[in-house]
């Protein structure tokens, strides 16, 4: 029986890889069933399930919140979005990033967050310097 390699990867981790009899996903233009020797195809995915029929007839199900499906002669690749993506949400994220920068620009006073350890180290450096001087004095 012919099979096709199937890789499902998310941006932050690998989700699935193995041989499949058929891969079923929800494309932008409708449900897709990819069997071995499918023509090369690339499409965006809609949020939904990706089902993989394994060699032994078992079926594995994955939820993707969007992504890209690519079909090559030997391999089906699903690039899954882990994040929930929509045009509006992306727009909001961009706006937030911009506001973040603007706020920082407006707030000229150094709002640098200094970890406590950093303060302690600064103190230590000053102390070390004082010690150096003390040592020099003692030598004379």
């Amino acid at each position: 029986m012919t099979t096709i390699r199937c890789d499902i990867v998310g941006a932050e981790s690998e989700i699935f890889h193995g041989q499949a009899k058929m891969v079923i996903a929800t494309g932008e233009a409708g449900e897709l069933g990819i069997a071995p020797r499918h023509a090369p195809l690339i499409t965006r995915l809609k949020p939904g399930q990706v089902r993989v029929q394994l060699e032994n007839g078992e079926e594995q199900c994955f939820y993707v919140s969007g992504g890209i499906l690519e079909v090559q002669p030997q391999v089906v690749t699903v690039l899954a979005d882990t994040a929930i993506r929509a045009r509006d949400l992306d727009e909001a994220a961009a706006r937030r990033a911009k506001e973040n920068a603007e706020r920082l620009l407006a707030n000229r006073a150094d709002a640098v967050e200094i970890a406590q350890a950093q303060a302690e180290l600064m103190q230590a450096v000053a102390q070390l310097r004082a010690i150096e001087q003390l040592r020099k004095q003692l030598k004379h």
């Binding site: 890889h17 690339i42 961009a94 990033a97 180290l121 004082a130």
Partner: protein, 287 residues
Amino acid sequence: MAGAREIRTKIKSVANTRKVTRALEMVSASKIRKAQDLMRASRPYARAMRQVAGHVARANTEFKHPFLTEREQVKRVGYIIVSTDRGLCGGLNSNLFRKLLGEIREWHDKGVEVDIVAIGSKANVFFRRLKVNLVGSATHLGEKPKIEQLIGVIKIMLDGYSTGKIDRLTLAYNDFVNTMTQKPTLDQLLPLPPSDTLATAHDWDYLYEPDAESVLGHVLTRYIESLVYQSTLENLASEHAARMVAMKSAGDNAKKAIDSLTLVYNKVRQAAITQEISEIVGGAAAV
């Protein structure tokens, strides 16, 4: 004896410093592992993404996406700068910023303006003091950066490129070579350099659903996002490695200071004892 007591207090405080640096060193040593795991986990996606982008860039002949075409005139350039949120990591950030400053100056000399997006507070603090245009920032990504946290800043730059506001986009980060070495790296993102998209030539084309233009745009956007995400993880691993090394050398220095202080302390103490004895002997002789 007053001198001796002073020195003893100093020794104690340096010993405390040493404890702090050692603690920080050990914390970084454990975090670096996790950062490396994250890097490894996200690699399959980056690899798959690169393949798909490579295929796409080569496969389609009738449509050329703007992300792939070089522009003749460059009036404004964009930089995405990945830095750390915290300090105490040696010269990690300053090395990267120094490299960038050289480039920015070159652009300014040519009369080209520079837009900057800062990831990490250090870049934020550093670049807002300069005469550059800070258009976006993302800070406090934590130990486990999520791609959601970066979407916004990347979109600002990609939109800028599509609308013609910027004509080139570069990514700056510290490449994690190994624990001892982190390399400040500048990668051109847009237009995608041909070496990145160079795959074996195809004489076939994809079936596109719904159409070539939108799918291509989508793929390339995701590709760039994955590059930026990957570089953030690299930078995170670099941060911990650099901090570990910096704290180690700080600890070593503290140890050296303690040693030499102990020597001085012993000498002072001995001198006091000698003086006391000679005073007693002198006194006894006088009686």
